[in-house]
Symmetry: C2
Subunit: 358 residues, 2 copies
Amino acid sequence: MLIDGRPMRTIWRAGAAAVEIIDQTLLPHEVAVARLADLEAAVSAIADMQVRGAPLIGVTAAYGVALALEADPSDAGLDAACGRLAGARPTAVNLAWALARTSSAVRGLPPEQRAAAAWAEADAIAEADVAACRAIGEHGADLILERARAGRPVNVLTHCNAGWLATVDWGTALAPIYVAAERGARVHVWVDETRPRNQGSALTAFELGAQGIEHTVIVDNAGGHLMQQGEVDLVLVGADRIAGGGDVANKIGTYLKALAAHDNGVPFFVAAPSSTIDWTLAQGVGKIAIEQRGAREVTHVTGRTGAGRLEEVLIAAPGSAAVNYAFDVTPARLISAIVTERGVSAPADLATHFGRTP
Amino acid sequence: MLIDGRPMRTIWRAGAAAVEIIDQTLLPHEVAVARLADLEAAVSAIADMQVRGAPLIGVTAAYGVALALEADPSDAGLDAACGRLAGARPTAVNLAWALARTSSAVRGLPPEQRAAAAWAEADAIAEADVAACRAIGEHGADLILERARAGRPVNVLTHCNAGWLATVDWGTALAPIYVAAERGARVHVWVDETRPRNQGSALTAFELGAQGIEHTVIVDNAGGHLMQQGEVDLVLVGADRIAGGGDVANKIGTYLKALAAHDNGVPFFVAAPSSTIDWTLAQGVGKIAIEQRGAREVTHVTGRTGAGRLEEVLIAAPGSAAVNYAFDVTPARLISAIVTERGVSAPADLATHFGRTP
């Protein structure tokens, strides 16, 4: 998608044995590119959220395996790399999925062929992600276009950033918006700020603005009021992990928006690639490990001063403790449908939709 | 209550014709006192939120009338003062209530006696607020103590600041916590940050810390997850306006917490003085005017830098629009009980509880 009118992806090959990424910790204030040339750089990029979003984390991890195998293509090197990468973020199932796929693609090969095979596999995962996101966009755009009415935009509320910055390109929850806009629909997006890391006001607003999509930033507290007032036609969010029964782990606060949507008869859609589905889990509530991040993300905020410097400021009472749960789980009963690259499915029908015995 | 171990109130008389307040826009970083010596200072203190919280706004407005009458005690002066003060914040019913009470106490008097009478009336409103808050604390403490169990604290979640900083002393939603602690209960408070102005992480955390009450700051997004995990025993919030039928207007985001409490069987209590009840309104949803404040409160945050300066930083994508609804309305069906200085009432029984024909 576009930055300053120029098509970009979030991650790309840079020479024979490195990748480059957009360093998302500096957005929306600076568009900086970071080079990942070894395993540790890939681990840090994931752990420090230079890359974030379940699909992009998965792709970065796959490239991380390739980077590691350049240095140590042994079985021990492969296992160590997968362990380091898997531990970088605990909740995203795509991370484990991408590591399993990359390591099984290379494990049967002689060590000297492994790095090349891992690069090829990571490239394939990246291209598959782009294709899946585009397909999610096509399926999800129908849900938006169904709600189009003359003389006013379709009002979509989204939480966090499940846009192209969370994937390689197109995005998951935002892909339907981009495709609907491509098809001529007028869409207006209510962008939840998404404390504590503000991925909504910083990243979603940034990418919607760069793409020319109408949007308005709101605090996370405002969505219920807007739904009560009839100002939201549908909610569209991403997912970090989807249990086979349809419960969805996504950014903290998603559950509150799903409750408000349910209370006001607003459809609540989750858009994610099928690699996000964890078939080993039937239910999600209480079963999915919820990552806790540092308290400083709650008590401090980084932004740009009037003078243009990036500065971190303390916003909480000095000395007060804080906790920082990164995700919550939205029960399937609050979700209208799940959109994957394979189409649109009621959460309860997910297994059947994928041809599995529920 | 205490600041640095010293008992303070939020507003007090300072000489014959002025009041002083704690300038709450500088908390929790600085405890600064501001002097209000004329009508415009009182209007600005309310509009700019140097004082905030429905009860404290009412008391400040009453003193504002006295300040205005010192300069112009005519009928026209009285009416103009009430008009200016009423327009400073549109949602809080206590503001209109305090203005009506003060102006009716002085209107029948000759102009030369009006200022003195207004000072006396404002003093009486302030003392009545202290007594009402203490009574709310006594009634509400019972609700906390009922849930006390050996070996663990009672976990209370609160939103925004309805503590003593929102009143003259004691607070509304926090008064039961202070009284329960006085009675020996161990209470732990989950403090919602309360974007966009962060009254929770800044003010509630500050006053709980100063009083020695255990507490943890969370982002507004986290409450649903905590309730799902059984980490919240009750929710206790204040109110800016309560409709006669029990719907409650309070800080934006309150409705989302009420939905989560309802979904998880967690009792949801509202604590407010009876002056907050608007008997002219049967229902609140769609009927209570919801104040919109400036977008800059959403896109920018002020905090303290590592070097100790207060600095405002931009946190949203440059150029993105934002809207800022200050309140939402929680329907009576989601509220377990309303605590006033007169006791505890189910929202549907509010009129009967106050001896009115419902």
